[in-house]
């Protein structure tokens, strides 16, 4: 329902804007062009989504995700002290972080939800704990080894070296995760349980 209002808003804004700037012709052409561009974008994403879903399946089966989880466990223990007492929570959390890291967003979400459910405190079932906030921040900072969707769009637009943005992507996500976690830590001190 929210999207309907946003869509309506966009239609209104562009119509009024086009009327004001006198670009009615361009606007009506844009309707058809845009719809076609939607199909082109879907097709340019299809190949990489297809291949990468297969790669995800394979990484699960060969135990790469498990290996990565073992490598990450010291860091997870530091950010989520609860994992030291609860091996199931540790499993969900590392699966979530690993799936995100490998660019398998669809596999990451169910694991993240399981982790949050396990972090719920029985005394305060509706309150977000510090660990939950850190999990959300880690997820939204999107620390990703290979952003395949972006690479696919770049290739479809004629880019010959779609992966040359990787160093910039890595530095950027690490910075945003660092700032996000620091912000969470500072806010956690100020914003006590209410």
């Amino acid at each position: 329902m929210v999207m309907s209002w946003i869509f309506m808003g966009i239609l209104l804004i562009s119509s009024v804007c086009a009327l004001w700037t006198g670009r009615g012709g361009a606007l009506s052409a844009a309707v058809m062009e845009g719809a076609q561009a939607g199909i082109s974008l879907s097709i340019s994403l299809a190949g990489s989504l297809c291949l990468w879903s297969g790669v995800g399946r394979l990484m699960e089966r060969t135990g790469i995700t498990e290996l990565l989880a073992r490598l990450l466990s010291p860091l997870l223990g530091f950010l989520f002290p609860g994992t030291k007492r609860d091996p199931v929570l540790a499993g969900h959390l590392s699966a979530n972080v690993c799936a995100n890291f490998l660019g398998l967003g669809n596999a990451a979400t169910p694991m993240g939800i399981q982790a949050v459910k396990r972090m719920v405190r029985p005394e305060t079932p509706r309150l977000a704990t510090d660990q939950m906030c850190r999990l959300i921040v880690l997820n939204t900072a999107s620390i990703q080894l290979i952003p395949t969707n972006v690479a696919a769009v770049r290739v479809s637009l004629g880019c010959g070296t779609p992966f040359d943005i990787l160093p910039a992507v890595w530095v950027t996500s690490l910075c945003s995760a660092g700032v996000g976690l620091t912000a969470a830590w500072v806010l956690g001190k100020l914003w006590k349980h209410d």
Partner: protein, 169 residues
């Protein structure tokens, strides 16, 4: 260096799978079928989103937004052309991808704007969606400082993306 990352990863996982007496080719195909199902659900949304974004661009509304945001964006060194992407990114993932693709096509994939857009898309996530899905499923209502902290991470992502593109090429 980064040129060999993806091919290397493919060699590694196929080799590992063969070593474990698995069948990597059919596993890849099996996973690929799921990927294709995802594409099918994505198509109608992307058509609607790109229609609306192309209309915004053609009507001149996008330019107005860019000009409106230019002083603030300029202060932080973020290209003002990316204004719509920055606004949309925390709300909807497919809309952000649509806006990003349109911007890359308009300004060129290897222009500064095009590369900044790509880095922004690759290093941020759909914050509002993540919070509502994770907390909604677990019945959390008092989210405390989660949203400000997550938005701070997003903002840092946009900022650093604009800088790293200039520094790291």
């Amino acid at each position: 260096m980064t040129d060999y990352l993806v091919p290397g990863l493919l060699v590694l996982i196929c080799g590992l799978a063969l070593g474990k007496r698995e069948d990597p080719y059919s596993l890849l195909a099996e996973g690929g079928r799921d990927g294709l199902k995802l594409v099918v659900t994505l198509v109608p949304t992307l058509v609607l989103l790109l229609t609306s974004i192309t209309m915004l661009r053609a009507s001149g509304a996008m330019e107005l937004l860019g000009r409106f945001c230019a002083p603030v964006f300029g202060f932080f060194g973020i290209p003002p052309e990316t204004a719509l992407l920055v606004l949309v990114r925390p709300i909807s993932g497919s809309a952000a991808l649509a806006v990003g693709a349109e911007l890359m096509a308009e300004y060129g994939v290897d222009s500064t704007v095009g590369r900044t857009v790509a880095v922004m898309l690759g290093s941020t996530e759909t914050t509002f969606y993540t919070i509502s899905v994770y907390f909604g499923a677990a019945g959390i209502q008092k989210t405390r400082y989660t949203l400000p902290a997550a938005l701070m991470a997003d903002f840092t992502g946009f900022l650093v993306a604009s800088w790293t593109v200039r520094l790291l090429g």
